[in-house]
Symmetry: C2
Subunit: 184 residues, 2 copies
């Protein structure tokens, strides 16, 4: 896409369209955002996550994780998160800030997961624990550790890298998502 | 690459090889890491950057930026950063933590920049300032705003997603980069 939408409203719609595509299409850039949290010392830390939901009407996105992961410990202390996507096909950078709500996954959700997906929720020893060798880890699907992070967006900032012009705008829940162009 | 190196030493070398490739090859995944900082309120924030240097012997990597960018304001207050790369060709996630040192770019460095690269250091109004429309921005190369971030690594964590086994290890400056396998 060589030309970014000319209006703020169209720009915001582009951002949501690219996010929503990530939920359904495993090859879309937004399928795998980078999630940043702050650790117990207040330092930033990042990892790739899989986007599992994006609901524009409620301005929220969803990722699933293991209750024993470091990010859940971080979010229990400080729920502020940032998501980042570089969408090469749209020449678009998405930067989201949000507050994460930690929910216990329901048995209903668990039963809808494919077997391969269940393997990432559970395992011994706990993720991040020292092990004597790389092979000293046993995956074991464990529904009690299946956790849903509902992330309520505070801002969405979009940067479109056009051939002649870079366009950048920020949209905020606090201003009803009306948007503001900002200098790139 | 289907098999990760079997030793910690080889794993660390793989991480550095992929980073160093990013400096020289504009198509390498590590060319464009995601950089996380914490803002003045302590919240995480992320953006894509271009990797300009990677020196294993000193465990440092380098990115260039505009002195007027938000990230320089963040780093003046708190120098802790995180870098993230998902390297699809190597099935490898790199997570780095570092302390950023903010250096004024030298005229010598400036003169070696291609004209197109100079355009991103400078411009009016300042990056992130509200503008009435997307076009209300004037790029203007300005050497005084050309800034080098020397990032001194504290840790490098690698996660290799193998077909049968995920391998994860963390390496730290504090332990001489000897490394430790950890549960994925």
């Amino acid at each position: 896409m060589e030309t970014a939408p000319g209006t703020l409203a169209d720009f915001l719609t582009l951002g949501w369209d690219r996010l929503i595509r990530g939920v359904g299409d495993r090859h879309a850039a937004a399928r795998h955002p980078t999630l940043a949290t702050v650790d117990s010392a207040g330092a930033p830390t990042q990892r790739t996550v899989v986007l599992r939901g994006a609901v524009r009407a409620e301005a929220r996105i969803e990722v699933h994780t293991d209750a024993a992961s470091a990010k859940v410990a971080h979010l229990t202390r400080d729920p502020r998160v940032a998501f980042h996507v570089w969408d090469d096909k749209a020449n678009l950078q998405l930067r989201l800030t949000a507050h994460a709500e930690i929910l216990v996954g329901t048995l209903d959700q668990w039963e809808r997961l494919p077997e391969a997906a269940r393997r990432v929720y559970g395992g011994h020893p706990l993720p991040g624990s020292p092990v004597p060798e790389a092979e000293a880890f046993q995956p074991s699907p464990y529904p009690d550790r299946y956790t849903v992070l509902q992330c309520h967006l505070d801002t969405m900032e979009l940067l479109h890298l056009g051939r002649d012009l870079h366009r950048r705008a920020v949209f905020a829940r606090a201003s009803g998502w009306s948007g503001q162009w900002i200098a790139p």
